[in-house]
Symmetry: C2
Subunit: 183 residues, 2 copies
DNA sequence: TGCATAAAATGACGATCGTAATTATAATTG
DNA sequence: CAATTATAATTACGATCGTCATTTTATGCA
C-alpha cells in the first residue's frame, strides 16, 4: 500500500512520538517494534519503511526527546526553579514525558554510536544551560563543574526515587537532594 | 537427567553469579535466559529447574549482587574513601562487578515487587552505612539526608559518566562530582 | 540390593522479536 | 489522462525469547 505524502509524514511522527514516550516509560530494550507501531495505530512492519531499523528509530527518538525537553526550558528560569521542578513528585511519577537523561542513561552504554552521540550532545547542552545560570562571580571552569555536579545529583536522585518501592523513602530522596542543592 | 545434590547447588550458584554480572553489564531486559545459562555452561531450560522463572532469578540476582557488594565495604573506611573508589575510572569501566544500584536503578520500576523490595532494602542499608560515617556533630535526621544526597550524587555521576560517549566529558563528570562531595 | 520417588537438565513448544519480500497506491512524467 | 515509477504499509519469515513436558539419574526406603 501507499498513502499520501503528508499522511506518511504524520504517521512517521506518530511513531517517533510514541517511541519517545514508550522508551522512557519501559526502557529501550523493554519495548518492541510491535508496541511502538501499535501505539501509532499501525502494524509493526511500518517501522521498517520509515526508519529502516529499530536502531535508527532509537537514535531519532533519543534526539527528539532531548530536543523537545530542551524547548521546554524557560530562558528566564533559575537553577533553583529547575531543581524544584526536576525533583518534584510529578516529574518522578511521569517518566514518559520526563527527563530523557534520567530515563535512558543506564541503557545508553549498549546503544549505537549515533544514539550515544546524540545523548552526549544533549548532556553538553544541558550542562551549558545550567552553567550559564551559575553564580557569575565564580570562574568559568568552576561553573561548568558545578553544573556537572548539579546534573549528576538531579539524575541520581530521580532514578533512585523512581527505583525504590517505599513511597516515604522515595520522597525523602527527592527532598534530601533538593536540600543538598540549596533549593 | 539428574545430577548430584552438590553439583546442582554449584550449578545454581553459577547461574546466579552469571546473572548478577550479566544483568549489570547488559541490563535485565537486555540479557535472555539463553545467555544466562550458557554463561554457566548449561542449556537455557535449566534456569527453570533452579529458579522457576526469570522473574525469580532477577529477584535473587538483585539481592545477591547487593549483598556481595555490601560485604566489600570496609568497616574502617570513611565516606571520602568510598567516594574516591566509587567515582573512579575503574568502577566506571567495570559495571559487571560494580554498584548494583547504578547498574539496575533505571530498570527497577518495571520489575517484580520482590525485586524492588530487595533493591529498596539495599538502598536503605547503604544509606545507613553512609549516615553512620557522617560528621557526628550534625543531628541524626540531617545525617540521613546527607547520606541520601551523597548516594544520589554518586549514582547519578556514575550512570552519566557511563552513558556519554566523550571520554573527556566522562572524566569531567566523575571529577566534578568528587569535588562536589568534597573528596 | 532392588524398587519407588524426587529432582535437575534436556529438548520441544508457543509467543514475540526484528527484518525483508510483497502489495497496493500516491506521485511523476510523457 | 494513461503508463510508469517510487514509496509506504501489509504480510510472511527466520531468529530468539521465556516456559513447560519429557527424560534421565541421584536419592530414599524396604
Amino acid at each position: 500500500m501507499r498513502i499520501s505524502k503528508e499522511k506518511a509524514a504524520e504517521n512517521r511522527d506518530r511513531i517517533l512520538k510514541a517511541a519517545s514516550r514508550l522508551m522512557r516509560e519501559r526502557g529501550i530494550s523493554g519495548v518492541g517494534v510491535d508496541a511502538l507501531t501499535e501505539a501509532a495505530g499501525m502494524t509493526h512492519g511500518s517501522l521498517y519503511s520509515q526508519f529502516g531499523s529499530k536502531e535508527r528509530l532509537v537514535e531519532e527518538a533519543v534526539a527528539d526527546a532531548i530536543a523537545a525537553k530542551g524547548r521546554e526550558l524557560r530562558e528566564d528560569a533559575t537553577v533553583d526553579d529547575y531543581v524544584s521542578e526536576y525533583l518534584s513528585a510529578e516529574h518522578r511519577d511521569d517518566p514518559g514525558s520526563g527527563c530523557p537523561f534520567a530515563a535512558l542513561c543506564c541503557e545508553m552504554r549498549q546503544q549505537s554510536k549515533g544514539a550515544r552521540e546524540r545523548f552526549t550532545a544533549g548532556v553538553k547542552g544541558m550542562v551549558g544551560w545550567l552553567s550559564s545560570r551559575m553564580d557569575k562571580e565564580t570562574k568559568l571552569k568552576r561553573r561548568d563543574d558545578q553544573a556537572l555536579a548539579t546534573l549528576s545529583s538531579l539524575v541520581g536522585a530521580l532514578v533512585l526515587a523512581r527505583a525504590v518501592n517505599d513511597p516515604k523513602l522515595s520522597d525523602d530522596i527527592l527532598r534530601a537532594a533538593r536540600n543538598g542543592l540549596g533549593g
